[in-house]
Amino acid sequence: MRIKYDNENKLHRFGRYILISAVSLLVLLYVWWMVSIILGTPAIPAPPRVWDAFIHLLNHGDVVTGYSMWDHIVASLKRFAIAFVIAFAVAVPLGLLIGMSKTLDDFTRPILEVLRPIAPIAWAPVLVFAIDRTWGPILVVFIGIFFPLLTNTVFGVKKIESNLMDASRTLGANKAQTFYKVMFPCTVPYIMNGIKIGLGIGWMCIIAAEMVAPYGGGLGYFISMHAFNGSWPYVFVGIILISILGLLTIGLAERAHKIIAKRTGME
């Protein structure tokens, strides 16, 4: 029996998507497996061993660090969330101000240009030593999220149609009213874009930072402890968890962006 593919049919489209995605992931799994066989190094274990490690971790927790798998996940997410909130609270208002004031823009530009190319993780040893093991990694993530969020907010302000500002002023709005009733809503789509990029970078930073400052749980900590012990299947469990959580966070931001775009009538 043959079923003809119909692009208009939602079910068909969904089926096609699932099928192609599944094949794609199977290819990835296959390549991984092959590489592990060809190289024969314990550092790249075959998928079944990683699966066993995962099940063991679920049932018995992490014997090396004494935390459960969920503890590690929550620890990473908590740092990530705190960093995100701080980055948002600083980058968005600052970006709005820089976008509005040419002097502030010219003044902050050299500073930002000098700092921007530095990979956030380069700050990890400094920050962990200078501040502490709790706030050091959080600040690394903050730096990772801060720059894309700031850049996009500034860009958004500069993109505001001058006509909308003019309309607001001829309707009697004063500077402050024009700021929060027109400028801010205008930049929301750009801010959302900055958030999406920032979350991606921030998620990379948190893992790296936890590997530099292995303390208090977290997936980076988990990976670095197991790598140190040579328990490679656990390292791989950690890597896969990072991928899944990263997908979830960014998917969430993606979703929020869509909803906001729809509600604000601006795509």
Binding site: A167, S168, R169, T170, L171, K181, T264, G265
Partner: protein, 253 residues
């Protein structure tokens, strides 16, 4: 309510990259209360600039503009503006767009609601109060723009080619609608257009500008009552005469 505009010897020079563009060269013009004056002129001659100067969005390089004896130094709700490209707030509903001016003026909610409702009814958009801007047609968008400017009850309404992007039929409907609104209000209207037909149909006076740098070429009085008959001989004759005048200012010559 008044709305007496005095444009006194106004010049405007735009400076860009160390090059001066003289947009307006010494214009003087008085526009009376409750008058509808159209500004006609070749493309790029400075019509929008005149409106923006009255609005207070652009500062004259010389001379001054007075509204009811007060020098214009910045934008204010006493001078409403209807923009050629609508300039509606896309994150606000139709209702909230119209409400904007009342909201920033701090008017109590009940009063606001009553006013917005009345103006939406005047422009025939009551059923679209909750619609988003991007769901509207061009003509509907411009009606929102008009209601948004009018709801503030400004003394002066500045309209920059408000019907320029509409098809001929919608345009005629909008013109008729505008005349109806004018009957109910007593605002002074300055109306920029490219359409001679529209200017003759609507205006008490037509100001024809020369090509850049713009000066006043001619002012034509039209004392006929509205609504006017486009097919009447005097309408056609006047239209023809203005077209000939404008032809002489053609930038391509």
């Amino acid at each position: 309510m008044s709305g007496y505009i005095k444009i006194d010897n106004v010049r405007k020079v735009f400076r860009k990259d160390d090059r001066d563009t003289v947009a307006i060269e010494n214009i003087s013009l008085e526009i009376g209360k409750n008058e509808l004056v159209s500004i006609l002129g070749p493309s790029g001659c400075g019509k929008t600039t005149v409106l923006r100067m009255i609005a207070g969005l652009v500062e004259p390089s010389g001379g001054e503009i007075l509204v009811d004896g007060n020098k214009v130094t910045g934008p204010g709700p006493d001078r409403g503006m209807v923009f050629q490209d609508f300039a509606l707030f896309p994150w606000r509903s139709v209702w909230k767009n119209v409400e904007f001016g009342l909201e920033v003026a701090g008017m109590p909610k009940a009063q606001r609601d009553e006013k917005v409702e009345r103006y939406l009814e005047i422009v025939g958009l009551t059923d679209f109060a909750d619609a988003r801007v991007h769901e509207l047609s061009g003509g509907m968008k411009q009606r929102v723009g008009i209601a948004r400017a009018m709801v503030n009850n400004p003394k002066v309404v500045l309209m920059d080619e408000p019907f320029g992007s509409l098809d001929a039929q919608t345009r005629n409907i909008m013109q008729a609608g505008l005349i109806k609104i004018l009957d109910k209000t007593d605002q002074t209207i300055v109306f920029v257009t490219h359409s001679v037909d529209e200017a003759v149909f609507l205006s008490d006076r037509i100001v024809i500008l020369t090509k850049r740098p713009a000066t006043i070429k001619e002012i034509i009085n039209i004392p006929w009552p509205r609504p006017r008959d486009r097919a009447s001989p005097e309408f056609t004759a006047l239209r023809k005469r203005i077209l000939t005048e404008l032809e002489k200012e053609n930038v391509m010559n």
